[in-house]
Symmetry: D4
Subunit: 132 residues, 8 copies
């Protein structure tokens, strides 16, 4: 469990702020909070993600060691996001799959790739106690 009032925040590189906005706001359904010349700040599923204009982004992304995303407690939320991804044809980096299938930490996951090659993983654990 976590608090409702605090927020996790993450800063990531964006090669182009308009492309970032199209992906996160128009695509993923996040909300735009503030725009500056060199960054945009987003309400990303209730936490803060800041896209900084930068050339220092991954040209050849791999899931490890860096990625981020949301783990949903409710299966419906994970399913609805996947439906949004299909409906809006967002860029899927890894198709939905089950990981740790024979373990208690078994979970469903899919991965998206944003326009600057940041990788976003969305998970749902069979057992919510395994979310950490």
């Amino acid at each position: 469990m976590r608090t409702t009032g605090d927020a996790f925040h993450l800063a990531i590189p964006a090669r182009d702020l308009d492309a970032a906005e199209r992906f996160y706001v128009d695509g993923l359904g996040c909300k735009l909070a503030r725009r500056y010349d060199d960054r945009i700040t987003l309400d990303f599923f209730g936490d803060q993600v800041v896209c900084h204009l930068s050339e220092d982004y991954d040209h050849d992304p791999g899931l490890y060691p860096r990625h981020f995303g949301v783990t949903f407690r409710e299966r419906d939320d994970w399913e609805r996001l996947l439906a949004l991804v299909r409906r809006r044809d967002l860029c899927v980096f890894a198709e939905p799959a089950v990981r740790f299938a024979d373990d208690v930490e078994r979970h469903s996951t899919f991965v998206l790739r944003d326009p600057s090659n940041n990788l976003l993983e969305f998970k749902h654990y069979d057992d919510p106690r395994m979310m950490y």
Copy 2:
């Protein structure tokens, strides 16, 4: 505001899992959830951070474009974390300072550096509506 049941999750590189555990658990007071040969998973202020054993870490870290952390709604929480940092002599990358001092999005911030050069920023905004 955000939900209590979901969790943000972030994967970051760690050159050495023992060093990561000392920093996050013994140092920062996070909780260890699971240990594998190639990663450790942490309850990081209510969200999930996973440290993946990797050589692909920053050798010359700079705050932009990548960092992560927590924005506290309550000033006391930010102050107590800073007190913990001093008491436990954690590695401070940027001393406490005020940013955007003349703007509504004015906030207090300090930055830590973990043993793999991941940078952690902890913020408190004068106006909580500016947390995004």
Copy 3:
């Protein structure tokens, strides 16, 4: 008291969507959810406000009978919003004042005017039971 999961929603006229976005997002600190050719949808203090492109807006606004806004339970929230209004020089239609000063429903209020002459009132009641 009200639920956290539902949202009030309000549709108002906007003569120009860019001007509306500058006022609500850049000015008032609301979050942009979606953009269409004929409307923008906003997360307005946790509820939904939709600005519809329209010529049917008030050319000579008066506080009655139409206005909308937020009543804050906490005085600090009202004060911080007023500070934002001053800092960002938003258009004040009615300066902060106390109404019903000798009654239990005594409250503090100020009113803003958006670029399409919609009037926004922000209140704080001395006695929160009087918020309805």
Copy 4:
């Protein structure tokens, strides 16, 4: 998400306060908070709606650009309200329908008309993230 302690508030015109009270309290099941000679204040689904006695009401109402209402997170709440509307034979301005049917922001909606031609829209989104 939104806070439980704050309230959205909306002021609308009413040509007749008794008619307004019959519609909102006896009809729609809202709660009457206060009565004055020139207005009534209501607990409207947890937010505040104030009906101001006024001749400045819409004689030929159209859904755009002005209307208001509630978006329910739970489908059951939307269904129960519709059942109340039928049972109490409230004035329906737009029959239940689905809008944006092929989009992620797909939602169910119906619209009522109050005695002063204010239009009230009640919505339920397939995907609650689209409520803004």
Copy 5:
């Protein structure tokens, strides 16, 4: 602690429904939910009180064995209600006093009398664990 979704409900006699409405709604600031010929139902501080038209009311009320009311967790809420009582000159049956002054269950209390001689006691305990 108690749930937010359930409600305590209480049925009491009222010799006159208009007088009851004036006391509870105009006086005490409760909200009117429904009106029938033989009763009114009220949102009484978040619970339900129903006033039934009846001749079977107390002609010579005493605090024991029957009365009802609210115990506030927060001192401010008790103070604000007392201020409302003074401001609106409601009928006070017992002036504010402290009971069980030397015990852990020490609490502040005042009692009102409604137009049908129902007695309403409002309490605040020094130690909230003693609220039961």
Copy 6:
């Protein structure tokens, strides 16, 4: 909705405190908070009920104008309480029935009688908005 921290409180007559304790604690599953020579205080479904030793109790109880109880938001809670009543053979004054069957305020109800003839009604409304 109501707060979690406050409590409704009700004082009722009891001809015999042991009988009252057997009914409310052993029978109804409420929790005993404090015992005095002349009263017992109970955590009654999260609110406070105080049974005062008194001869002034109803010898010929009728549902109107006085009774009290709980309205459950969740049907399951009402059903489980009814199961407890049957299992523990508590005194049923009115068998489960539906009232206002053709109205929006339709609800299920049953009534118990305590050893001092206080009547307890437990309700579940089809539409929770009708709980007041």
Copy 7:
């Protein structure tokens, strides 16, 4: 953080159930839920403690390795319980003291002894993140 709906439960020995009830209910202000011939069950600060009639209790109690109690997030709650302990002259095993005084996990604590020599420790941490 923990859930509101679950409960920790603990079973401890009691040499005499009446003595246990006097200590926990009359003394400590817990609530009695159920009584059997061989045990009593209690609502102990929101969790369940069951006292089992048994000769297998500690005749020479020491704080380690067994004790239990509550850690309060709010200092006021710890202070009020200490005031109750003094007011009701409960058996204090260890006077209020500060432990780990120079560490982040610094906390205030006092210990009570129940009639069967079970030891109860009540804590308040300077930094709530150290509660685990």
Copy 8:
């Protein structure tokens, strides 16, 4: 119901801290908070359990009079924990069973044994009001 901010805490003996950590963290999925030479502290389902290195542990454990655990409000949580126990082959002291089968306080339960013979009982009551 209980608060989210407080924590129950329990101190128990552990003959070996590594064995305790393997059981509670790797086995049961609890989270490690702090490690000392003589104890480990755990986030145990949201409460605090501290394992103290000690020779004073039970060599011949029986369920009475001492054990501890969690009562889950939701059946799913009890079921998922049982699945984890089976999947990770934890030491079961008492197989899943129903107790008080014909009573309102009927509940499902299973008991585990930790490496120091502390017994852990996990319960789910048919009627959540019986959790105390």
